[in-house]
Symmetry: C2
Subunit: 160 residues, 2 copies
């Protein structure tokens, strides 16, 4: 049976394993440089920068959703940003991903938020089909941009 619970600091090692499993599924196994200390400091201190739901099947952790808050200036409302959603391959097809999304939507609705936002890889058609079946909108016209590493440090040290 499925149970969804909030993660605690005792789950940091589990969360990091699930983050790595997800990165592997997303074909970027070497992209995870985060450590347990990072997740402990940022997720379970006085001002948590993210929150985590753990999905358990018959008591075994099989998936997770990691999220934080977002804001839409057009809607004038906060929303949930879902950074990571993952269910172990052998536990798919049991409605666990949907249950995690439902729980997030419930939290968002309880807080008066506008909804839930996330990202999906363009080759992950099963995920795209699933999200669209729930009525989610794939916003193809919006590209995500990031400045990190050397370019970020250079920009930060610019003299204006």
């Amino acid at each position: 049976m499925l149970n969804i619970r909030e993660a605690t600091c005792a789950d940091v090692s589990l969360i990091l394993r699930l983050v790595r499993d997800l990165a592997e599924y997303e074909r970027e196994p070497d992209a995870v440089v985060a450590t347990e200390d990072d997740l402990l400091r940022d997720g379970f201190g006085a001002e948590p920068k993210f929150r985590v739901l753990i999905a358990e099947w018959d008591g075994t952790p099989v998936g997770f959703a990691l999220y934080f808050y977002h804001y839409s200036t057009w809607l004038g409302r906060a929303g949930i940003f879902l950074e990571d959603l993952f269910v172990k391959p052998e536990y798919r097809g049991k409605g666990i991903g949907r249950a995690l999304l439902t729980e997030l939507a419930r939290i968002a609705a309880q807080n008066g938020y506008y909804g839930v936002k996330w990202e999906v890889l363009d080759w992950n058609q099963p995920a795209i089909d699933f999200y669209q079946s729930l009525g989610a909108e794939i916003r193809k016209q919006w590209l995500t941009v990031r400045i990190t590493g050397e370019a970020f440090r250079k920009l930060a040290s610019d003299s204006v």
Copy 2:
């Protein structure tokens, strides 16, 4: 001369005008349903959900950057998410957009964050060229997804 300052609650009406100017530039003038009360409640209460930098040219407000926080589980670090960046058309070409991005990068660096993330419309080639000239990465493989409105309310009321 350019001056960049943090917004206060006295700037709410200005911020909403700039949000509307940006939505018009992004060809979605009717998408802004936010009110001054929304921005006051969410940006200037006890737990602000966003922060705003105002750019002034010779004392006149000519642009803004509205941002909040994000988290990368792969990097194990928070980052700045830039929701809105706008400079009035008649003030472009003076380095104001770059100065706003520099200030955000500086804030991110001071906090030990991994960088700055945002979104751009796929037809906005001048903006894409500008971001790439700074060394930012356009992550075309990631699509943004959102569930809002009726589909969101339906999901939130799902019985799991």
